[in-house]
């Protein structure tokens, strides 16, 4: 009699835990997808801003056609990759494309600094602030996504959560990180002032 009750109690406790675990995993999945959407929104904002910036500086920077074209090309590639990216696949390609775009924009910024009258016109300064803010937003959205996704990944692999993971149809998601060794490289700065060959 006692054993029956004990058995029943164990089953009830296990069921209650399973329901709670299932719900927790679903909530984490939702949070991860939501964090991903945040990145998506910010990337779209960034991609929409770039043509405006290029338009604003184009007239004054005829000589810097290459820099501008590099920005546009990087932007178009990022837009293309973004369309196919999801937490479960393509995050790292998108991260690499966005990193390439960032470095192209960085070069453009350096060039813009060389044109004081360009900065003096309100429009460009305003666009630069918008761009700074957008870069920040992308990185904060990424930070939130990586934190949420890590919690989600760890939870669904931990015992005994992994027994429920199949039921909740969870799959590990990719983190926003750069695996390409070239991207990690710190740019070399040569301050030796030796004449180049």
């Amino acid at each position: 009699m006692f054993m029956t009750w004990l058995f029943l109690a164990v089953i009830v406790i296990a069921l209650v835990w399973a329901v709670a675990a299932y719900n927790k995993l679903i909530a984490l999945k939702g949070a991860t997808i939501n964090a991903w959407k945040q990145i998506d929104v910010q990337l779209k904002r960034r991609h929409d801003l770039i043509p405006n910036l290029v338009e604003a500086v184009k007239g004054a920077m005829e000589f810097e056609r290459e820099t501008l074209e590099a920005v546009i090309q990087a932007r178009n590639q990022a837009v293309q990759i973004q369309a196919g990216a999801a937490p479960t696949g393509g995050v790292q390609q998108l991260a690499a494309a966005e990193a390439a775009l960032s470095s192209a924009l960085g070069r453009l910024n350096v060039v813009v600094e060389r044109y004081p009258d360009l900065k003096a016109t309100g429009n460009v300064a305003q666009l630069q602030e918008e761009l700074t803010s957008t870069e920040n937003r992308v990185s904060f959205a990424r930070q939130l996504y990586n934190d949420t996704a890590t919690t989600y990944n760890v939870k669904q692999q931990q015992f005994p959560w992994n027994m429920i993971a199949g039921l909740a149809k969870t799959e590990p998601v990719e983190l926003w990180e750069i695996t390409d060794e070239k991207e990690r490289d710190v740019p070399k700065v040569d301050l030796s002032m030796k004449p180049k060959q």
Partner: protein
């Protein structure tokens, strides 16, 4: 103690503030329900009580204090005041500072502020709060709103003019941290309970003053007859009366202790949002250097500000009394801890411990 890492600092401050809040609530319960207990013992404990009550009003000799009216009433009163504060507080605070809501930024600095707030909303994962500008030259900022979905962040004009982008980001992150940690709710609750205790204390003091003489004569005689049990009751009564008389001071000090822990917590949470503790540290340095008081912000709102709007002098010296009465931890300590999070230790090489 070497709580240097920002997550360790967060956990430590959260733990400490929880302990302080628990002590605060226990103290409140002792003032309320402890009074009931004392009164219960006093009225049920045989001859002593009936005699003393007879002495007092002659008729109520059969009264037994069973239902804890005192504690229940105090709790209800506290709950009502807290509820009122949660409903009306945020609007009143903003109204009192003369702040205006920024809907469409007109100056470049305002545009930067809007951008920074939106960035921090993303970093914290909270909805974007309403932005308010306080017309005051002194750099300061505060957050209010008891619901994370209806939060308000207010900054002074002086803040916009003094800080650069990274510093502004740190300050806004600190305010968003107050919102995320539910500090507005917690502080309004504590303020309501402090108010209730002040009321009880005041009422009891009057009662002792006007009605104490007769009771003291009767109680003393009864206590002598009952011996041990009577002495316990008398001891409890005296302890309770003493705590009631001291309640306004004790409760305020406890609430201030909680406030200071939440400030450290908000700093650490801000560092988590921006991952740039040095930005906030440099903002705090600038805010401290602008030694003027923020006249637009009332002292009642101080616990939600980035820096105490009035008591600058108190935060300078690290004396114990000054620390106990301050709404904010000493600025030097906050900056040192933020630097420790950024692994930029001061020259002494010491990691500031948790106070």
């Amino acid at each position: 103690m070497s709580d240097s890492n920002l997550f360790e600092q967060q956990a430590a401050n959260r733990r400490r503030s929880v302990i302080l809040v628990a002590i605060f609530l226990l103290f409140f319960a002792w003032i309320g329900f402890g009074g009931d207990l004392v009164f219960h013992l006093y009225t049920t404990d045989g001859g002593m009580s009936s005699q003393s009550i007879q002495v007092r009003d002659g008729t109520a000799s059969s009264y037994r204090h069973v239902f804890p009216w005192f504690g229940v009433c105090a709790t209800l009163l506290g709950a009502a005041m807290a509820w009122w504060g949660w409903k009306k507080g945020p609007k009143e605070i903003l109204w009192a500072t003369g702040a205006w809501e920024m809907i469409e930024p007109s100056r470049p600095e305002e545009k930067v502020l809007v951008n920074v707030v939106e960035e921090m909303a993303i970093a914290s994962g909270l909805p974007k709060p309403t932005i308010w500008i306080v017309p005051d030259r002194d750099p300061n900022a505060f957050a209010t709103g008891t619901d994370v979905n209806e939060a308000h962040v207010a900054v002074t004009e002086g803040l916009l003019d003094t800080l650069n982008r990274d510093e502004l980001q740190g300050v806004v992150a600190h305010e968003m941290a107050h919102v995320q940690n539910h500090d507005v709710k917690l502080m309004t609750l504590l303020a309501a309970l402090v108010g209730v205790m002040a009321l009880i204390s005041d009422g009891t003091r009057r009662l002792i003053w006007y009605g104490g003489a007769g009771r003291r004569r009767g109680g003393g005689g009864g206590g002598g007859k009952k011996g041990g049990a009577g002495a316990l009751v008398a001891f409890l009564l005296i302890a309770w009366l003493l705590s009631v008389i001291l309640a306004p001071i004790v409760s305020r000090l406890l609430a201030l202790g909680v406030t200071r822990k939440r400030e450290f917590l908000a700093d650490a949470t801000a560092a988590q949002f921006t991952r740039n503790p040095a930005g906030l540290a440099s903002a705090l340095r600038k805010i401290e250097d602008a030694a003027e008081p923020t006249r637009a912000i009332k002292q009642g709102t101080a616990h939600l500000c980035i820096a105490d709007p009035a008591g600058r002098r108190l935060t300078h010296k690290q004396g114990h009394i000054a620390n106990l009465l301050a709404t904010h931890p000493p600025m030097a300590l906050r900056i040192a801890r933020l630097k420790a999070m950024a692994y930029q230790y001061d020259k002494t090489g010491e990691i500031p411990g948790v106070v």
